[in-house]
Symmetry: C2
């Protein structure tokens, strides 16, 4: 780490947004797999280069340092999120949601559940937790690019449903986090902690979602029902 304290690094600045050559993409794909599987310290640039089918020197030519590769890998991953699409999907559901909040909550659960599994979120969360002390920007970016938009969209939906009378949430943001907590306690954190589902016999996901919806609505469904 030559320039550790040389550059202030504004923590959210996008210093490198070149188009990314094909070779660079090969490297990022390889490093994503390896970093997710083994963590930052568990991977060296020899392995990344070999896995990408590229000379190690090329990695240095394109990225300059191991940390830069790691950073680029994270950005590249997050850039592929297409959270707008998720948000659009949620908003599209909103019309029907006013008639049936339970169905909306179920659909939202499905959305985040597939998002989590399809984008390796478990491994990414593990990486964020493991490296956030050394590389503080990683936690900030993860939150800003990953979780915050999801929570905000969901909050907006809850607020809208409250305004139309389908729900009664005095504090939609708190309610959003509560609902997420009801799901994640069963689905995310045991996996992040690598506690086998065998150790803590968990109910199937369908039950978790149904129970979360039931609890949420028993608190926030409008009184007149």
């Amino acid at each position: 780490m030559p320039a550790e304290h040389a550059c202030p690094s504004p923590s959210t600045a996008p210093p490198e947004d070149r188009p990314l050559s094909g070779t660079a993409l090969k490297i990022l794909d390889a490093s994503k797999v390896l970093f997710l599987d083994h963590g930052y310290d568990g991977v060296n640039l020899d392995r990344i280069a070999a896995h990408a089918g590229v000379a190690r020197q090329t990695v240095y030519n394109l990225f300059g340092s191991k940390e830069a590769v790691f950073r680029a890998t994270m950005r590249h991953h997050w850039a592929a999120f297409e959270l707008q699409e998720v948000a659009a999907g949620l908003n599209r559901d909103l019309a029907r949601a006013e008639a049936d909040p339970a169905a909306f909550l179920r659909r939202f659960s499905d959305t985040i559940l597939t998002f989590v599994t399809e984008t390796d979120q478990i491994a990414f969360i593990r990486l964020v937790v493991a490296e956030s002390r050394r590389l503080p920007w990683i936690a900030t970016e993860f939150y800003d690019l990953g979780k915050a938009p999801l929570v905000e969209t969901f909050t907006a939906c809850l607020r809208h449903m409250t305004e139309t009378g389908a729900l009664r949430c005095p504090d939609p943001e708190l309610a959003a986090h509560q609902f997420l907590g009801l799901i994640q306690e069963f689905v995310i954190w045991p996996r992040v902690m690598a506690i086998g589902p065998d150790a803590m016999r968990l109910p199937p996901t369908g039950v978790v979602v149904e129970e979360a919806v039931a609890m949420f609505l028993s608190r926030y469904a409008p009184a007149t029902s």
Copy 2:
């Protein structure tokens, strides 16, 4: 790691349960602080020895390897939990709880909240997440010695309150996890992820607990109230 695959290491076996000399305790205290602050890879035995005011060779004499020091540190930490005391406290509350489930839930929340802050659980969870891939025993032990007893005691309380009619939980274990999820989403995970409370403006803990209690009871309070 000389004997990596030599010994099957039954993953929960307690290989070393000597009384622990004063020097060993000094080393464990030092290594606990350092491992919590910097992670496994972020600490070398020179630092541990220096911090303990002891020669590096002494560390090897007493523990044999870095991983053994780490393991002993974890065990020593977990052995100090005195979870029985917590459980006893909960059970003592149970008599009053039948009259006032809300008060019981508040007291339970306080218990786990002080437990979490007083025993550095945040840093420990981070360590577990970071190292659980390399050292799988760490997750198992953390769960068996830390979380499982708490969940079981809480579950037993909920079941008992259901039997006496103070509550109506068809599945007390699921309900216990739900309540924990409602609290931890706000109090534990943001800190584990090192997302500053500034980034995701969180409600104060008191509000979190009150809202969790309210939601829990609106779902599980007996119908006749």
